[in-house]
């Protein structure tokens, strides 16, 4: 299964401030009553974007200046809580192709990488500067350079970081590991026979 090599992602960006943004916030559980991931995009961050009557709240994701953003900026421990892949799936289907945050919850990070979404980390100060830049000019392009672990915006470069295993897998087009896992089947069977305990 040949996948695209992801060397960089770029696009307009939006800043969703806050630490410990959990996956219930990203996709409330009631929208997981489904048997496919299709259609999750419109429910991303639903309860912080919408009033109970369905009208819009004031929220960066409702700000028309940031419409069409493909890069999300946020705080620390992004994607904590539930392991639901519905969260990165919802972001992906809402058009997001890259995230910059101070840190990530483990499971969210892995789920996102498997979808080919680079999850860059950057310092709080850098993220605030980036947020200020896109607030001043929402049309600015933010570029996540996976190869060089650099974030570019408005002619400036910001240091970013991406865990080696994620970076390697994106660059080599093996961010979805299924093909490589299947290649190991013989060794898997051998080990399972040897462990024979279940």
């Amino acid at each position: 299964m040949a996948l695209e090599k992801i060397t960089k992602v770029e696009g307009k960006a939006v800043y969703v401030p806050g630490d410990d943004i959990d996956t219930d916030r990203i996709i409330p559980a009631r929208f997981m009553k489904c048997i496919t991931f299709d259609g999750l995009g419109e429910f991303a961050f639903y309860d912080v974007r919408k009033n109970e009557d369905g009208s819009d709240k004031k929220h960066p994701l409702n700000d028309p200046r940031h419409a069409g953003a493909t890069i999300m900026l946020s705080g620390s421990n992004f994607g904590c809580g539930s392991s639901r892949e519905h969260a990165p799936q919802a972001l992906h289907k809402a058009g997001f192709r890259g995230i910059v945050a101070e840190s990530y919850a483990e499971i969210f990070f892995g789920n996102s990488t498997t979808l080919g979404i680079p999850c860059f980390t950057a310092g709080r100060q850098q993220i605030r500067e980036l947020a200020a830049a896109i607030d001043a000019d929402p049309e600015l392009t933010v570029e996540l350079d996976v190869e060089n672990e650099v974030i570019r915006c408005g002619g400036k470069e910001y240091p970013g970081a991406l865990r080696d295993s994620a970076r390697n897998s994106l660059l080599s087009g093996r961010w979805d590991p299924i093909a490589e896992l299947i290649e190991g089947t013989e060794q898997v069977d051998e080990l399972a026979r040897r462990l024979n305990y279940v």
């Binding site: 559980a29 009553k33 892949e85 590991p177 490589e180 898997v188 279940v198």
Partner: protein
Amino acid sequence: MAKSLFDKVWDAHAVRDLSAGQTQLLIGAHLIHEVTSPQAFGMLRELGLKVHMPERTFATVDHIVPTDERAEPFSDQLADAMIKELRRNCEEFGVTYFDIASGRQGIVHVVGPEQGITQPGTTIACGDSHTSTHGAFGAIAFGIGTSQVRDVLATQTLAISKPKLRRINVDGELQPGVYAKDVILYIIRKLGVKGGNGYAYEYGGEVFDRFNMEERMTVCNMSIEGGARVGYVNPDEKTFEYLKGRPYSPKGKEWDAAVERWKALASDPGCAYDDVVNFRAEDILPSVTWGITPGQGVFIDETIPDPDEVGEAERDAVTEALEHMKLKPGAPIKGTPIDVAFLGSCTNARLTDFQEVARYLRGRKVASGVKAIVVPGSMAVGKICEELGIDRVFKDAGFEWRGAGCSMCLAMNPDKLVGDQLCASSSNRNFKGRQGSPVGRTILMSPLMVAAAAVTGEISDAREVFGIESPTLVGA
């Protein structure tokens, strides 16, 4: 060389290194439920793949099942479609499915141990972050996403990076009225909700040695709330005692051999940890949360934080939390009126949780205006409670006694908060909207503290409500 249990289990299950630097890890037991598995089966079909070792995957239905009217078809058509999809997938791919008719249905993290599927020294994966629960048995258990559910179904392995290991000791003796839930809420408060990112937690010390298996499960369950994907306790005689005679436990000679093997798994004295943290049991008191993360908690006698008095780094988070919770900065948390009391979830809905509450609840009544429900973690837990008359104690007190499932922990079934109701809850997450209403409010606590809140109608100290003698109260 001295090795930790984690290293022993990891090394035994490591198939090979993958090109990006992760490990291909064999999964001994795979548990699935209706919410995070259907898309994985869909991907298998798309790729034309089979389930590689169907005998190692076990399914049950927990998130969406109603706890009152449990006959199919469910009134919620989406829920009904999900349960039918799970049944179809299990039949087509040859996976064992514990449905309601089997009498073995329940929350996946309650069912695994009680069926004896959860065993020391194995690796377990489930598309659910509370999979860390199974670590109570000395298993290494990972919560995974749906693409990984697909990976395990198709290959019985995961592509995963090895975390660092932190040993957490809790020594000394817990005071009466202080429970495993208080221990884990305290650990999360001290180490932070992201303190465990990148770590597996090994819990030990005198408190864990004394804990029964269900108490160990409560703590391991909430490891993920502290950021740690994996949490475990070294197996001992209590572990073996619990597992003996369970449906999937080894039998006869195989049992003896298994126990010998399991005994050798515990971390060797002197093994290396990346970090060690020590806590004293005496420092831990009955705890409740006041905010919107499990780390935002206080002891029952403490006051709600004031954004003006916390550090700058925390101010925005405290302000946001208090706005959602509608709590007054600087006020005591005790006395906060509640609307709902929920006893349930994979954290605290096992037999000993309910036995302990029933001991004190007999003869008491739920306060008027409070809706109180008990949701057993599994049909087996419900059945034994009914045989022991524990259900009677709850019903006599005014609790609704329900069927097994996740219920109001995450409100994917009809059990939900309405509007800004405040719920005293024995579950694991107090995130905004977690219990089904976007403006609903959750306060996490031990089961006995939930019962105390239910009978008084407000957040209360269970030790006072139920007359539990505590050294800290003498002369206070």
